[in-house]
């Protein structure tokens, strides 16, 4: 443990500056080429977004407040659907994964549902739950539950048999074993599940917001694209993208740490 954390500290102390500078300069070069191409070479009537015009659009949209309003709406849907989804997914996953006959009888169908390309389900959710936030939150909820559930099952079924033997030798009850052995031991799988789930949920939110075109960042993208104000449409898309990347990076690092911890046992 101490060596692992020492190694970790060492890694963070020695930041690879040349590499970071190189990565940063690639970013700048791409932006310059993009800006140059659109303003010097591109000559079709539809105005493409450029880095410059996107920043202008961002300033305008944040001053009018519509960007924040829409971000708030999208975040609301995302949280409303994903928090209960994560919790229920973990609980169901522990129960189903912990009881092998239950797993054999249900897992194939959960997987079949998971494998369904979910955008095809969105019109059905809109019919069932309406165009408002309920419908969108239900889409997020469903996507998150199935993803977290399947990953939790995988985690529970990969718990080291030695831990279970110890728990049994000390006479731990099945429920207690599930909470105190299975749950912590499958944490890295669960975090991976949450990461995948949020990735799917973001796509679910944006597509559902296209469908209704009433609220949220997706609706902004949809409406501004319709008016060919593509720089304005690009701003909310970038917000979505940054959200996705931040969630991915933070959960991935948590996952790696948990995985290391899991394998130490």
């Amino acid at each position: 443990m101490s060596t692992a954390s020492a190694r970790l500290r060492q890694r963070t102390e020695h930041t690879d500056w040349p590499r970071l500078a190189f990565i940063g300069s690639v970013f700048v070069i791409v932006l310059v080429i993009w800006q140059g191409y659109v303003s010097l070479i591109y000559d079709r009537p539809i105005p493409l977004p450029t880095p410059g015009s996107t920043i202008d659009a961002f300033i305008e949209m944040s001053q009018t407040g519509e960007l924040w309003q829409a971000s708030f709406e999208s975040a609301q849907v995302l949280l409303l659907g994903s928090i209960p989804g994560i919790l229920l997914g973990i609980v169901l996953g522990l129960v189903i994964g912990g009881i092998p006959p239950l797993n054999t009888s249900l897992a194939p169908y959960i997987y079949a549902f998971y494998a369904t390309p979910f955008p095809a389900l969105i019109p059905i959710f809109v019919l069932l739950f309406g165009l408002g936030n309920t419908g969108k939150a239900m889409i997020v909820f469903t996507l998150v539950v199935t993803t977290v559930l399947l990953q939790t099952i995988a985690g529970v079924r990969n718990v080291d048999a030695r831990f279970l033997e110890v728990a049994r030798a000390f006479g731990s009850s099945p429920t207690r074993t599930l909470v105190e052995v299975h749950l912590p031991a499958s944490m890295s799988f669960i975090v991976a599940g949450i990461r995948l789930a949020i990735g799917r949920a973001l796509v679910g939110v944006v597509v559902a917001e296209f469908d209704t075109a009433l609220s949220g960042l997706g609706a902004l993208i949809f409406r501004y694209s319709g008016r060919l104000a593509l720089s304005h449409a690009f701003v909310p898309a970038v917000v979505f993208s940054i959200t996705g990347i931040l969630i991915y990076v933070s959960l991935k690092s948590a996952e790696k740490r948990l995985e290391k911890w899991r394998q130490l046992g």
């Binding site: 590499r19 190189f22 990565i23 690639v26 970013f27 539809i46 977004p49 994964g97 009881i99 092998p100 006959p101 054999t104 009888s105 249900l106 194939p108 169908y109 079949a112 549902f113 494998a115 369904t116 390309p117 955008p119 095809a120 389900l121 969105i122 019109p123 059905i124 019919l127 069932l128 529970v156 079924r157 990969n158 718990v159 048999a161 279970l164 033997e165 049994r168 990735g199 973001l202 796509v203 944006v206 597509v207 296209f210 469908d211 960042l217 997706g218 993208i221 949809f222 694209s225 319709g226 060919l228 593509l230 449409a233 690009f234 898309a237 979505f240 993208s241 996705g244 990347i245 969630i247």
Partner: protein
């Protein structure tokens, strides 16, 4: 498997046959579904219990639009997936080979992989029009990243001993690729193809529903306008079937390659 061990004595007697369990699971799910959607708990217009869905199957199959729609969906998916596979493999190998490209581009490719790319669909359709090419681009964009990233990882994680042996035997560069690098990154490639196919199907569904409606996506919307939930579900199940078939066949390939790898190692 390791989990099953301490519980075996309990599970053994209750259930020995997993097909029995799966059948029982299916019955329970169908019964729950039937219960939820019948007896006036849901607006009868939207009611789609499995009994009604099953009865609608012949009607949907008899719809003269069904098979052309299925073909058009399969065509979009397979063209998009094919392009993504070829480009993804080439780019993945190139990145693994050219260190400068690897250092400069890999962070951005990972960022694009983590972004909800369907967010830019309205922008793409505004620029490229409501054409087949736009749909194809959406499928390629979604499917390519898992393929590219996995091929890249595979080509970089070739066993050092194998490389050393090859070098010491003065194997030529082309034979090194054909005999060492490509075979040992094959398992990664297949994982990438499986993930890419799943995302490609999501891309296909999004493209068919949210650009100019076409294929099975169009059928879902068409039945949706008539509030014909049963028929919508039949089409969704077609999507599920295609995805399961893809995931099953790539899974089969994965197991086969893994076995082959173990025997040569």
């Amino acid at each position: 498997m390791s989990v099953a061990q301490p519980r075996l004595s309990f599970a053994k007697r209750v259930v020995n046959n997993r097909w029995f369990l799966r059948f029982a699971g299916l019955l329970v799910i169908l019964a729950l579904w039937e219960y939820m959607f019948s007896g006036g708990r849901i607006n009868p217009i939207f009611s789609a219990p499995p009994s009604a869905v099953v009865q609608t199957v012949p009607d949907v199959l008899a719809d003269e639009l069904y098979f052309p729609a299925l073909l058009s969906t399969l065509k979009l998916f397979s063209m998009g997936f094919g392009i993504a596979a070829v480009l993804g493999i080439l780019m993945g190998l190139l990145l693994a080979r050219v260190r400068l490209l690897d250092a400069g581009l890999t962070p951005y490719l990972n960022a694009l992989y983590a972004s909800p790319l369907p967010a830019i669909i309205p922008i793409l359709t505004a620029v490229l029009g409501y054409t087949f090419q736009t749909k194809l681009l959406i499928v390629v964009l979604l499917a390519i990243f898992p393929i590219l990233i996995n091929v890249h990882q595979g080509a970089r994680s070739v066993d050092g001993t194998l490389l050393e042996v090859a070098r010491s035997l003065r194997v030529s560069e082309s034979r090194l690729w054909m005999d060492v690098i490509i075979p040992s990154s094959l398992p990664f490639l297949i994982v990438g193809l499986r993930l890419g196919a799943a995302r490609g199907m999501i891309g296909t569904a999004v493209a068919e529903l949210y650009t100019s409606p076409d294929g099975l996506g169009y059928l879902i919307l068409r039945y949706g306008f008539r509030f014909d939930m049963d028929a919508m579900l039949v089409v969704v199940l077609t999507f599920t079937g295609i995805s399961l078939l893809l995931s099953w066949s790539t899974g089969l390939l994965e197991r086969r390659v893994r076995r082959w790898r173990v025997t040569t190692a």
